[in-house]
Symmetry: C2
Subunit: 275 residues, 2 copies
């Protein structure tokens, strides 16, 4: 498959970055020696002001965006909070996100204890908040754009193509990829995107979020809270993910492979413009 | 592909259990109506004695084994702890694991706060403990057995085959599957297995752990701490996972597809007995 970086892509994967993969040698099923590249995985501890919040396992690129996006997606940094600085210390494997005034995240942090180790990997109690009064724009989703973005994302040079065992997420405008992030955890990739969107002040209401990960309740909630009205995945669904998507009016497309897909929520916003 | 439940399987997936999947309708890429089954996903809150520990997202089967296995794999219930009862309340979506004496998990719980939301989904700080003085038995792993277990697992009727979007893990004795668990979170499936092994008092040192999930540092650590010397996956590797496996002497086989695989750790224990 020929690969190319879409002209629309403002943030692209960097599969050639030597810090993100490691060359290892082993043997194959015949006992013959094989050499391959595998993705790195290292801890990154995220601080909000003076408080240690979480240690995430990450490939290590875009630590500032990952830290900010995690805090934003957890509701620990609110839209009204003024971020005064984000400092990454590579040696300490830590990022400190600073806000003008202390946030009200202490109460949330207390709750975090109760969901630590959650199978889906983030603070679920908080995630549900704000869904009740959420209204997503009824942005149309064209089948022609779905095919275009899927093709563009899959053909973009990536760590997935170079080393595998990694998740990706890509923010798209119609059929055009804008920002493509990868990480060992599918949620890290989305959190990096959220951090970038906050810094770059990218409008969410007219975008499409593509993920390689499954459409679980948490992924659906995260996408909805980010204000992105359309969620597309090459993977499948969970029942609760579908249920929540229907409640909040999120268009959800799964099992997207080539020109094939299944839409289980928000089909009324899909425009059937492809032959 | 013809499916059959291996005679050796003591715990098999139950894809026909109506509580584990939900029928949903949507549309495909042509706009035609489609009906499919998707896996359920529901919260389960795990208590250790009087203390609420975690809320996991799970398909909902084997809640007692999931709760016990989670606590065992997190080091919150130690081998020396006497488990006096495990009570599941389906209405409250909660499981209470009771021990004869209070465990020393409070300190661990405090640490859990700091890794909540960890990309890989469990309490990493605790996971690393006990690795230093860990010695795994040098149990041989025959290529013929690898092929047999891979074929047997893939042909076993499962939620994966029925609905997809789910992870599976299977404990095997040589090429024979013994216990096969599935869940929305790959770690839940392993935790259910750990709970079952603790209750059924299954010896770990002569077994093989098969998982559909990636061989991340956390999966490698969990397998090693469970005392299982061989870890096999159809998915790929991370660099740290490989590094830790080599440190603890865990045989790690990845990208297992049909008769093909790659071994990046412990190849000296692999017996090349297949044609």
């Amino acid at each position: 498959m020929s690969t190319e970086v879409p002209a629309s892509l403002r943030v692209a994967p960097t599969p050639d970055d030597a810090r993100l993969t490691r060359g290892v040698t082993g043997v194959d099923e015949t006992g013959a020696s094989v050499a391959l590249r595998v993705v790195e995985e290292r801890p990154l501890t995220i601080y909000l002001n003076a408080r240690e919040i979480v240690t995430a396992m990450t490939i290590g690129d875009h630590p500032e965006w990952l830290a900010l996006g995690f805090l934003v997606n957890q509701g620990m940094v609110r839209p009204s909070d003024v971020v005064t600085g984000i400092d990454h210390d590579a040696e300490l494997q830590a990022v400190v996100v600073r806000t003008a005034v202390e946030t009200d995240h202490e109460a949330r942090l207390a709750r975090a204890t109760r969901t630590s180790g959650c199978a889906v990997g983030t603070v679920f109690g908080d995630m549900m908040e704000g869904l009740e009064d959420l209204t997503l724009p009824a942005t149309p989703l064209r089948v022609s754009e779905l095919r275009a973005l899927s093709r563009a994302v899959n053909r973009t040079p990536s760590l997935y193509l170079a080393a595998g065992a990694i998740h990706g997420t890509c923010l798209c405008a119609g059929g055009d990829p804008l920002a493509y992030f990868e990480d060992v955890g599918r949620h890290n990739a989305v959190d990096k995107l959220a951090g970038w969107m906050r810094i770059a002040q990218v409008e969410a209401g007219d975008k499409v979020l593509y993920t390689t990960g499954r459409l679980t309740s948490e992924m659906v909630i995260k996408c909805a809270l980010m204000g992105i009205p359309s969620l597309v995945s090459r993977s499948g669904f969970t029942a609760w993910g579908v249920e929540i998507a229907r409640q909040v009016g999120l268009t959800v497309i799964g099992r997207m492979k080539g020109s094939r897909f299944i839409c289980l929520s928000g089909a009324e916003r899909v425009v059937w413009d492809a032959e």
